[in-house]
């Protein structure tokens, strides 16, 4: 049996009851994180445009757009909600493949579950299975596939979305293999789009195309059922090297989705160890901006490559500035979406502190590490060493921090009681038989 058929069989045949409890738990956390980052982006210009396009097109009102509450077709809801979940670059990350697993998968599954009146168990099984398929295919082609220039969340996300949607539609393993074929032949998304709205569109399209693949396969539409392993299949064409055994190893026994991480901070993942360290210094020693003479950061080389902006002018630019991230973490004690405002970036106190930050690239420091030496104006030297940044598998985001993140993202657009109801609804999602209450709570002031 080929890899496509093995993975499609796994997707078609795995039931909610077979999921290990920790997978169910992580799936619920992923749902809450997803709803937070999507709702937090609901006022973004990219979302406004995509919503207008969906309204122009119309469609039977069977699925809901987050924020606006507009009802449209499931495929269009997948597009808009998927993009919304990625706009802030604050979604979950499977670090070994740099895939953001939940966006494409849940953005396909939730509109379909709403349309077909399915329940929480169905949704969680679809998410767990879809994310697992997505991460496993990603593992087979990473890093060559990413190095070539593919935005891996856009490409393998299409398979994950097809698997989740096919699961909800109860496809046979054979039809699921055709759905995978249709997904693989639509897989797309170039890293060249990083920095443009198109990047978040990749996630929406992965969700929509994967959902369409499952809907087509359900009706007997055919595609190559060897899309992964074929000589001119997805892996061979979109990657210089690949190893499908990595996709199949321990399938159904070990869940790679458990290595998913939830970002604690609303900025590039390479800045996170530094932010952790600055928060620790603030908490342990009560350091304030006025105390600081110099902050020396020993960091991984990617930190300056990706987040080296010395004089950010906007909140968005602040996300790509290790200087701002370090400064604001000390001053406000966090680096959530609300910290990355234009006002904060231009505050004299923040600018003064940014000028005292001195990053030093050190190839001996790993991506999840940072070594901070803070010298105070009265000659003290405080050290903080971060080994595993929070939100990475070895130091997962606590439930309390996830809740804080969710509230920080949603309170600007949701009344507190609705945000709390949404948290409550997700916390017992596996007992929810009717998703309409949860979906109604995603209407926000956008």
């Amino acid at each position: 049996m080929g890899a496509t058929r093995e993975l499609s069989g796994f997707a078609a045949q795995t039931t909610f009851q077979q999921l290990p409890p920790e997978v169910v738990r992580e799936s619920k956390r992923a749902v809450l994180n997803y709803l937070g980052v999507a709702l937090g982006a609901c006022r973004h210009e990219a979302v406004r445009i995509l919503t207008a396009i969906a309204e122009d097109a119309g469609g039977h009102p069977v699925a809901t757009l987050f924020g606006s509450g507009i009802k449209t077709s499931a495929v269009q809801a997948a597009t808009v909600n998927g993009a919304m979940s990625h706009v802030l670059d604050y979604d979950d990350t499977h670090l070994d493949t740099v895939i953001h697993p939940t966006g494409p998968v849940l953005s396909a599954a939730l509109p379909l579950a709403e349309w077909k009146c399915l329940g929480g168990k169905d949704l969680l099984a679809a998410l767990a299975v879809g994310a697992e398929v997505e991460i496993r295919i990603g593992s087979a082609v990473y890093p060559a596939h990413y190095d070539v220039g593919w935005h891996i969340t856009g490409t393998v996300g299409t398979f994950g979305a097809a698997a989740a949607a096919g699961k909800l539609l109860d496809l046979t393993p054979d039809r699921m293999a055709h759905a995978f074929g249709l997904a693989g032949t639509q897989a797309a998304g170039l890293r060249e789009m990083f920095g443009y709205m198109a990047k978040s569109y990749h996630v929406g399209k992965a969700a929509a195309n994967g959902l369409s693949s499952a809907l087509l396969a359900q009706r007997g539409f055919t595609a190559s059922p060897q899309v992964l392993e074929a000589k001119r299949g997805f892996c061979a064409v979109l990657s210089d090297r690949y190893d499908l055994s990595r996709a199949l190893e321990g399938l159904g026994e070990r869940y790679l989705f458990l290595e998913n991480g939830l970002k604690p901070y609303a900025c590039g993942v390479v800045t996170h160890p530094t932010i952790d360290g600055m928060r620790a210094l603030r908490k342990k020693h009560g350091v304030t901006a006025g105390d600081v003479a110099e902050i020396e950061l020993r960091v991984h080389p990617l930190v300056l490559e990706l987040t080296g902006k010395q004089q950010p002018r906007t909140g968005l630019e602040g996300k790509f500035s290790i200087y701002f991230c370090a400064a604001i973490a000390l001053i406000e004690g966090n680096a959530r979406e609300s910290q990355f405002s234009d006002a904060n970036v231009n505050r004299p106190e923040v600018i003064a502190l940014m000028e005292k930050v001195r990053p030093i690239v050190d190839a001996g420091v790993r991506e999840s590490q940072a070594i901070i030496t803070l010298r105070t104006v009265d000659g003290m030297e405080l050290k903080e060493r971060v080994e595993a940044a929070s939100g990475t598998p070895r130091n997962p985001l606590s439930d309390a921090d996830l809740l804080d993140k969710f509230m920080d993202l949603t309170l600007p657009v949701l009344p507190r009681d609705r945000a709390e109801q949404l948290v409550e609804e997700v916390s017992h999602l596996d007992e929810v038989t009717d998703l309409s209450r949860l979906i109604a709570l995603t209407k926000a002031e956008c």
Copy 2:
């Protein structure tokens, strides 16, 4: 100025008035050919499924599906009509790049023109400009891009569709460049899907994704405006080698779309020289099946690789059999869609003649050539040498043959007077200010 901006400028700024008359003429012929091959496929199972999916989704009724006449959103009409135009593998071909240019481009342009109440001149300009962009980008990446495993009509078709739709929406050159970026980051379609319904879906999705790209760009959605030339852009990521100077050479002066060919026969293009030759022998010498002792065919090596099936069982398999193609061309004097029936493939007279066909591969024979030696039962030897198969640029399909092809395809589903009205409407398309009459005529008995 980069290649993306040069091509987007060409697409945005070229007007109908600037098109050379021969480009307008070829565009009209391409429209007629397109409508014929689409309507001829309107009863196909793949089309039935795609139509059901579109009906399930709904949408404001602004654009028409060929055949069924169902009205839906423009993007959904692009998907269904695009797939319909490719199902029979009988569409137009730019031989130097093996692109089928009109399908993706016109399937985006016509629903949009219908929605926005535009006229025939707008539609023809959109087709000419879109096809030109598509073929030129294809020329830059062919053959490496195709050899890797990409279905080039699916990939570069997305750019063509975006250019045509952007033209109809009157995008500025800058917004057109963003539309190209969105098109390039959605470009997809694997050759692995050949032989499955997914192949025709590529054309529908290229049309739909290109159209979406233009609609998004119109509203200010952003993408990389260097999608072609960027280090990690479309060309570098989807092709081992490319040369963008080929895309730009003579842009606006020379139209590569003029090298487009219209298939005269409803089967693999490599069989066409043989069919031409058999028809000539029949016409010149009045040869019938009963006269034949042996038919020796000296042909290009690809003929046996692609169409070597000796005992086809169905009409579809007959399309991949040089034996059947040669036999039916002599017996019925043609090889159109109606010749490729299950009944014809199983007729004793046809089977008897197929057994007398002897193809000989000859590396000295070009793809557009065939050398036929027909030996009769009474010892005569008739020779026929075909230099340039009909439907290739050096021997274009005549208007009369195009009309015959159109009628052969449409009469099974359209009353003759409606088919004739459609021909009439296309023949003066540049004078049509309201496309609704033409569109109404595409409703057929499907």
